[in-house]
Structures are given as C-alpha cells and as structure tokens.
C-alpha cells in the first residue's frame, strides 16, 4: 500500500481503532517505511503537545456552584419515572392492504374513572399488572425496541440500542394472560406488548387505564371502508362499512376497556387505542398488537436509510414527501441543545397519500414518536401519534419555529417506519381465468360499468377467502386493462379504487376508461379483455431522513 493511502490509517492505528487486518497492514508497513515511521512519531509528538496544552488549570466557581444548588432546589417535583404501558394490538387477518383507511380519531369521554390500578410507574421497583391476551412481548423504551428474553414465564428486559448491553432493566412475568412488570432501574419509557403469532379470529382485549386518562382515541383501518358507530359513549361498534356488517365492538366500563372482534376471515382491522394526545404528558395508553398474522418483517428488522432533499430556509418549514397515506396534526415536543421541552404552540402536520414513488409512509399515525426533527445533531421536534387520510399526492410536514429565538442550524427530520416497496410479479388474467395474486387465487369474474364514473369495474372473486396480504400496486401503469392489444393504462390507482367486500369476497378494480371506448370494452368477448398486474409488495422499512440547513 502506498504511503499516501496509509496516512489516514496511521492516525486510526495510533488511536487503536483499526480492525485486526488493517492493523497488521499498518504494522507491516511501518516496519519497512521510514517516511511512515516518521509520521507515526510526529503523531505521538503532536499528541504529547496537545496533552500539555489541554492541561488547563480551570478552577470551579464557588458562587456559581451555590447558584446551581439553588436552581436544583427549584425543580418543582422529584424525579418521576413515567413508565407508560402500551399494549398494542393490530388485527391483520390476511389483509389486502391496498386500501388502508384511517378513521379520524373519534374521541369520547370516559367518566368516573376509578384509581385502583395505575399503569404509570412513579419509582423504581414499582409493579404494574393487568390482563392481556396471550402475547409475545416487545418492550419499547422511549421509542427504542428493547430486547427481551422469555425464561420460565418471565420476560427479562435486556437492552436497547442505547442501554448497556445485557443490562437488566426490568422483568415482566407472564402467567397465562396475566402480566406483571417490575422495573429494576430508574428510567422512562413505555412498554408495548404484542403478540407475534397465532390466528386469533375472535379476540378479546382488556386493559387498565390510568386515572389521568380521560378520553380515548380509536383508529381503525381495513381494506374496506370501516366506520364506528357510537351506541353510547361507552360502547362503540366497528362496522365494515356504513350500515355494513359488524366487525367488532369496544366497550368501556370504568377503567377497563374491552375490544371484541367478530369472526371475520378476510378483513384487516388495525386498532389503536390511546388517550387524548392533548394530555399525553399525563400518560398514554395504547392497546395494540397483531392478531391473526405474523408480525411483518418490516416491524422486526427496521433499517435506516437516508434521503437528502434541500429545503428552503424560512421560519415555517415545509417538506414534501413523495408518498404515504396518513396524516397528523398534533402538538409536538421540541428539544434544543439536547434539551427536551414541550412547546404547545408548535405544531407539526404532515399529510401523505399514495403517489408514483416507491416509498410509502406506513403506520405513521399509529405509532408514538414516529417523526423526529433534529437541529445541529440534536432532536428539536417529535410527533406523537395521530392518524388520518389524505388524497394529496405527497406527504407534507410543517413545523413552526416562531417561538424559537434563533432557528438557524442544521436540521434533521426523521420519519420512522418508512417502507420500501419492490416489484414482485407480473400477472395477466382474462375473464373466467384464475391467477395467483401473491397469496391468493383470484378469478376475473366480470367487467361492468362503474356507476360512479365513466369507467368500468373489473370484479374478481377471491377464491381462498383471503385477500392478498401486504400487496401494494405501483402507480402508474401497474394495472392495465387490455382490449384487442390496446392498452388502457391505469394512470393512477387511487386509494379505494382497489378494494374488496368481506361478505362477498370480491375484489373490484375501477378503470377510468374513455367514454368513447367504454362500450367497446363492455361488449367485447371475454377473450379480448385482459388485465395485467405489476404488483409490488413490502420489502423493508426504515427511517427516512431529511437534512437541511437554515441560515
């Protein structure tokens, strides 16, 4: 290796930061190269001089020390760890998630909460208990997954990315459906309990609520329209569509909430229960998890990747994200100089919708702390929860830093849980034919006029009773209607234009066909019509990082 190429290695070699192999290379080279030996010596000499320079007699200031003590005394309350228990349940029963519809958080008041059990822990060695279905465990501490080890019915919380490896921060005991969580250390965070396997078609979920929590938001999505029908403020019915079949019910009694799903084989329901985001500082309860399907790979192996987009520097910042399908408008907490504080007037809003990109924001509205903004390497903004839908072809976020005296600096916005999609397969089908579409067998049954538009609708039977799971359609050109070698390209598959009916087990695709051609297609013979799919599905997820500078 040439000396120039080795120069950088010698610096790291001096610091003992080289891999074994590189170390050997440098060692060998130094044996025989006078020039590099000299560089190495020079490095040592520089270090020696630096040590002397850094050897500074800086005396602590007694008066300031007393001022610090006074300031510490003025801290209003003692240290209160806030372990918020989050039990997450996501119902993912063989879903076709082409259409993912978030219902804007209906919230309602729960009166007369009793206080016999608290899920917020105030000191170490505290114990919380409750009842949950037979779940596997994930522990999340401040948004970081913590490794857990299940031994003899007890879950040992081992570590997170930022905790010392192997450190035991607590343990969670399970006995049938009862759990007890005991922390071993002073720390803050929350715990999410999630099942990883099993096909639970009828699920009961119960949890306890902190007395501080006065309201609950519920978000639910499925591939068909889902609505809530509020029978009373203690009873919600989840319907497959307006006046459609009953998917499940939510009942609230005192501090207990029970969610029951009816047996539905081909629907996807995601439920997230949480308290009013406006009182998030008082404690948050989420009940969520996965029923009926494996936890998707993307939730287990999150990978970070970076994308850099330049943004204009101004006091109100807007970033445009090419794709996604969620929205939020929540208060955020801000940090500056590494210090987190709450800024109630600051809002972050983002909207997302399907577009022609290959990235989709998933679950952004269902997860806590799913978006963070960094300034000069320090987190300055964070979004908590929220959900919704938007029709725009972009995701936008907005952060108003008017209250920050000097907003200049380098910022980093992190959107968590971004999924990358990849092309999976191409499939063609004619009327009467059956094809495999990912995990499902579908038959093109008929093509009929679309009552709501000038277009037509292709109706498919889903034969195995389950819509394809985790399928997404790349847009545009991903689904084509072909007639006599003429291609009617589906310019854009909007949310809702590919969907299914859980009762009839049908999947419908709407095509925007020119009215002059509509009749030709509707009267054509079965053999002349063909539909091709270029379907894509989830490949991986990670954090989406935007960096920009405000001058």
């Amino acid at each position: 290796m040439k000396c120039e190429a080795l120069a950088e290695l010698i610096s790291a070699y001096y610091d003992g930061e080289l891999e074994q192999k590189e170390q050997e290379i440098v060692n060998d080279h130094l044996q025989n190269c006078i020039h590099c030996q000299r560089q190495h010596l020079l490095l040592k000499e520089t270090s020696k001089v630096l040590h002397d320079i850094y050897h500074i007699k800086a005396m602590p200031n007694k008066a300031f020390e007393q001022k610090l003590q006074a300031q510490a005394k003025s801290l209003k309350t003692g240290y209160k760890r806030t372990w918020t228990l989050v039990a997450s349940v996501v119902f993912a029963l063989m879903l076709l998630s082409v259409t993912s519809i978030g219902i804007a958080n209906p919230q309602f008041f729960i009166p007369n909460l009793s206080s016999s059990v608290s899920l917020v822990m105030a000191a170490s060695k505290d114990t919380i208990s409750g009842s949950l279905p037979n779940l596997d465990i994930w522990v999340i501490v401040d948004g970081k997954s913590v490794e857990t080890v299940l031994e003899q019915g007890r879950v040992f919380i081992k570590q997170s990315g930022l905790l010392d490896k192997g450190e035991n921060v607590g343990q969670l005991s399970l006995q049938e459906r009862e759990f007890t969580l005991t922390t071993e250390a002073d720390m803050s965070g929350y715990v999410r309990l999630t099942n990883k396997s099993g096909h639970v078609l009828v699920a009961d979920l119960e949890g306890n609520f902190n007395p501080d929590i006065r309201s609950i938001g519920i978000t639910l999505s499925a591939q068909t329209d889902v609505v809530f029908k509020e029978i009373s403020n203690k009873h919600l019915e989840i319907l497959a569509a307006e006046e459609g079949p009953l998917l499940g019910t939510v009942n609230i009694s005192d501090r207990r909430i029970a969610l029951t799903l009816e047996e539905t084989a081909s629907t996807s329901v995601r439920v997230d229960l949480y308290n009013d985001p406006n009182i998030i500082h008082k404690g948050l309860i989420n009940l969520a998890g996965l029923f009926g399907a494996e936890v998707p790979e993307y939730l287990r192996n999150k990978k970070d990747f970076t994308r850099r987009d330049p943004l204009q520097a101004e006091k109100t910042y807007w970033g445009h994200f090419p794709i996604g399908e969620s929205s939020v408008n929540q208060n955020i907490s801000l940090t500056l100089d590494g210090i987190i504080f709450t800024e109630e007037n600051t809002q972050v809003m983002y909207r997302a919708a399907r577009s022609q990109g290959d990235i989709q924001i998933e679950s952004i509205g269902f997860m806590r702390e799913d978006m963070t903004l960094h300034r000069n390497g320090v987190e300055v903004a964070r979004v908590f929860g929220g959900s919704g839908t938007a029709d725009d072809q972009e995701i936008q976020w907005k952060a108003n830093f008017a209250s920050i005296p000097d907003p200049r600096g380098r910022y980093k916005l992190v959107v968590h849980s971004v999924m990358t999609l990849r092309t999976l397969e191409t499939a063609k089908v004619k009327i009467g034919e059956t094809i495999r579409l990912l995990d499902s067998m579908v038959t093109l049954k008929q093509i009929i006029p679309d009552d709501d538009s000038n277009g037509i609708v292709a109706v498919f039977d889903v034969l195995n009773g389950a819509y394809p799971s985790e399928i997404k359609f790349e847009s545009p050109h991903e689904i084509r209607l072909m007639y006599n070698d003429q291609i009617f390209e589906q310019k854009r598959v909007r949310i809702g234009s590919v969907g299914g009916n859980i009762n009839t087990k049908e999947m419908k695709i709407t095509f925007n066909v020119d009215s002059s051609k509509q009749n030709d297609i509707l009267t054509a013979s079965d053999n002349d019509i063909e539909i091709s799919f270029n379907s894509v599905r989830l490949l991986e997820s990670g954090n989406w990082v935007f960096e920009f500078e405000v001058e």
Binding site: E8, A12, D15, L50, L68, L75, D142, L162
Partner: protein, 186 residues
C-alpha cells in the same frame, strides 16, 4: 464514571440536591472548561460558557433519561451546541480574537515546560481547525473517547470521526515538522 453520573442525577432528582449538584459540577467543570479553551483563549468566556452548560444541565435534568444515552454524551452535546452558538455569535459580531486560543501562560503546565514556540505553533494550528475537528480532537486526545462515542456526540459516522481526526492531526503535525528537524528526529 457513567454510573456515578447516573446516580448523581437520580439523587438530585430525588431532592438530595446541594451535595450532589456540587459533586456533578466539580466532576465535570474541568473537562467542560478545557473543551471551551479549544474555542477561546478568554478565561471569562470559558467560565461563562461552562456556566451556561451547567445551568442547562440542571434546568433540564428531568429531560435527561438514562435510556437516551450516557450523561457524558448528553453534556458534551450541550457543550458543543453552546460552543457552536458562541462561535456563531462571535462571527456575526465580526469578532476577531486577538489572541490565539489557549495562550494564557497560566495554562502552561508547570511540571513539564515545552518550548513556547512549539506550543504556540500548535495552538495556532488548533485555532484554524474547524469546530468539529476541534471537538473530535479534544474528545480523543483529552478524554480518550472512542470513535464510536465521538460519533454519537458529533452525530456522524465513525468513518467521519476517523477523517476528522486525520485532517486535524495533519494540520497540527505540519506545525511540528520544523521542530522535529531541530531536535534531530527527522
């Protein structure tokens, strides 16, 4: 050290403030002061900046969470941002430090006097380093932090730390070449 810091913070938050606050201050005063001497030679500025850091630490001590990382990473992040603000303010005031950094003779160690020229040459070279080079150099040379720890504080990759240190040292080493020759090391 980490555990001690954690325990001190826990104690402060539980109300045992005076003694523990002093202990925390005394433990970290010198490292933080020394760090700021990389940015200014003015002892009053150094003291002011150091005090700002400690005030921020105490004011926001509830925000520090153990699972967020080590206390050392947190306090150096605060210190670094304080330094960045300081440098930014000085630049905007068209401030030019008449003296090179670390040039107060009080700060020269008494037990091992090096040639003043050599020290001045290095000081002058440090003065010309970029902020992140100064920070990386200080954390490595004075605090003996690993590349991984430095990367966390600077919010960059370990590879970037390697580069920063290499570039910083290259700049400093050039200043020492003449002295090497004089000392017969060439």
């Amino acid at each position: 050290m980490v555990e001690v810091d954690e325990e001190l913070i826990a104690a402060i938050l539980k109300g045992n403030a005076d003694e523990k606050v002093s202990e925390l201050y005394l433990r970290w005063h010198r490292p933080i002061s020394t760090y700021f001497y990389s940015f200014t030679s003015n002892p009053q500025d150094v003291e002011d900046l150091t005090q700002i850091v400690f005030l921020k630490v105490i004011k926001n001590i509830k925000s520090f969470r153990r699972c967020k990382g080590k206390f050392s990473t947190w306090i150096y992040t605060i210190a670094r941002n304080t330094a960045l603000n300081f440098v930014s303010q000085k630049q905007s005031q068209k401030y030019h430090d008449a003296n090179p950094i670390l040039n107060n003779s009080d700060h020269i160690p008494e037990n091992r006097m090096l040639e003043q020229e050599k020290i001045e040459a290095i000081r002058s070279a440090i003065n010309r380093l970029k902020e992140n080079q100064k920070t990386a150099l200080y954390l490595r040379e004075y605090q003996q932090y690993s590349y991984q720890e430095i990367a966390k504080i600077l919010d960059c990759s370990e590879g970037a730390v390697k580069q920063l240190l290499f570039r910083a040292r290259q700049g400093l080493m050039k200043q020492l070449v003449p002295y090497f020759a004089k000392e017969g090391m060439d």
